[in-house]
Symmetry: C2
DNA sequence: CTGAAAGCGCTTACAG
DNA sequence: CTGAAAGCGCTTACAG
């Protein structure tokens, strides 16, 4: 084990611990793996020996036997560069790293934007180098989910898969998009708005579909007509939010509120409204979605629907580990929450 | 190897390939490891066998022998949450992942914000689970660099270390902060500005120190007085940019340009200027630093100094791999570039 | 509850 | 150039 330029010192093995504790290597291994069938005396001796020697298990040797790698991939399939601009991604990656670290499991970051990267990553995963995959893909056209499923790799997706995977039983964790949209539109209605527009997300993303559906349902529920002139579609980017806002302003100059399906797009909407001389929230109320770091930073600070990212990642990790342990797939839907700031 | 809920099929081993190719396992291993001392005939037979069987090396078995893990950590020491809001981080993480993937090396993401996390990560690293560390820390107070160095772990830092590590020989890759600052200030001067203010970064970060030094040098070089009323300090966050701008406007209402040490802070400066009714760039020219995704997205689009993130990460990976291979530490300074947009 | 032994899949001197 | 053999550090039935 001694190696590296500075020569890391030779590591202490299970053998050293066994000698130190006066037991066999098998017994050391048993306490390492849960302490079943170990006498209190042996347990104590081994614990002390581990402490004295500073022993750390060699994961490679362990993995060679168990067939598990005790590591997990965070696989980002990213057709658009934009995904990396989205603060949501950071929050998710960060909290997944944390949730895994709490269980002493390293997170291996993989990015599959191109066909070649997809192939390479798939090969790596199939070789058993990770026990499971946290799959974060933006669009439904993504073939990775199906490929992984076919390969028999435990997967849990962030957000409800829309493609082929939707019909198969696949694990996922998502916020309640539709209900969040409903809450926001109800809130806008309750504050007196009657010409409520929306900027939806792409139709091939769950957020695009569900949040728009929630918007429509709530208008109907409130007795408002569903006017297609009030509906624009973006791609979650700030620039697309600007374009959508310009279109809406042109088609429906009398709008008095906009429900925007992401905070980033909402920033674009705010820009356009400011340039058009519309005051927010006095003339037009704007509601976002995500409660990303962009929301408090925008002007005015954005009233939005909070996605519980901490819980989403915690659940993703929990469900994935359960899958790896052999449990059946599970879908987890987490409630959202309205966060009131100044834009509505 | 067969395992997982769906039962991943038993993997093909070097033994299968040897039988298939009609050679010994030793020979297969030799072609796997560079093909030295292998006859062309044997090479061809093994290559074909590998292709037919779909063999993929078991990295755990290999690591157990070689003592190397063939993986690298991306270690983010993050005293401030803010770091994750910074788009620069994304770009760096993304391109490091890519640069490593090109060499078939997985990136293990580690975050050490607290003392406990630092200890845990250090343990993991010292156990030899990664061959080296790409260290990304914002401030100089960070003890991780020293701890890793003492442990004899190959490390390359992003940005020049300022603490104890600065005196030891430690590898790092950085953009030429000082020169970038000089270029921006010269540009502002050349466009006729004579009351050029600056918002510097924290004094315990290389960017905070060097960019401010470049600013001062250039003023002197241009024959302008260095007026301390024109110097404010932020912490790289947008909010701190706002605070700094307010301070500057109060202390030096006649300023006609601001060189801001980060794009994020520059956004804050732009907000304040807009609210104060100053037109950009007509009344006040604003220059940023980074050319992060925030730069083209700001209003007006930000003239800034581009940090060559792609090259920075490529060099970090190259230097780290060289360190792991036994080479001496190296410092790499990369040139920056002025990117003209509309704010100056 | 515990030790002795086999074996995970690979690499690497060592003879030829 | 190539095969046989030892061994990396661990886990896991198997006897006791």
């Amino acid at each position: 084990m001694a190696h590296g330029p500075e020569g890391r010192r030779r590591s202490v093995t299970i053998h050293d611990v066994a000698r130190e504790a006066g037991v066999s290597r098998g017994t050391v291994s048993r306490v390492l793996n849960g302490g079943h069938y170990v006498s209190p005396a042996a347990q104590a001796a081994v614990d002390a020996a581990i402490r004295r020697t500073g022993y750390v298990v060699n994961r490679h040797a362990r993995s060679l036997i168990t067939g598990r790698s005790d590591s997990v991939a965070f696989l980002l399939t990213e057709p658009q560069e934009r995904f990396f601009e989205d603060p949501n991604f950071n929050v998710l990656l960060r909290s997944c790293t944390q949730a895994l670290a709490d269980r002493d499991i390293p997170l291996i970051l993989m990015i599959a934007g191109t066909e070649g990267e997809r192939r390479r990553n798939l090969r790596y995963i199939q070789a058993g180098h990770v026990d499971g995959v946290l799959l974060v893909s933006s669009h439904s056209g993504d073939p990775m989910a199906d490929l992984l499923r076919e390969a028999g790799v435990p997967v849990v997706a962030c957000g409800k898969p829309l493609g082929t995977a939707a019909r198969a039983k696949v694990s996922y964790v998502a916020a309640d998009d539709r209900d969040g949209a409903r809450e926001m539109v109800r809130y806008l209605y309750a504050s007196g708005r009657r010409r409520i527009a929306t900027v939806a997300g792409p139709a091939d993303t769950p957020g695009g579909v569900e949040r728009l559906a929630g918007y429509r349902e709530t208008l109907t529920e409130c007795g408002l007509p569903v006017d297609e002139a009030l509906v624009a579609v973006g791609d979650y980017s700030r620039a697309s939010g600007e374009a959508a806002a310009e279109l809406l302003l042109e088609r429906a100059p009398d709008l008095d509120a906009v429900f925007v399906a992401s905070d980033l797009m909402a920033q674009g909407v705010l820009d356009v409204l400011a340039r058009a001389g519309r005051r927010v929230p006095e003339d037009v109320a704007v509601g976002g979605f995500d409660d990303s770091p962009a929301a408090p930073a925008s002007r005015p600070p954005l009233t939005t629907i909070r996605q519980p990212w901490d819980r989403i990642s915690a659940e993703m990790v929990r469900v994935l580990l359960a899958r790896i342990a052999g449990e059946d797939p599970a879908a987890v839907i987490l409630p959202t929450e309205l966060v009131r700031r100044e834009s509505a």
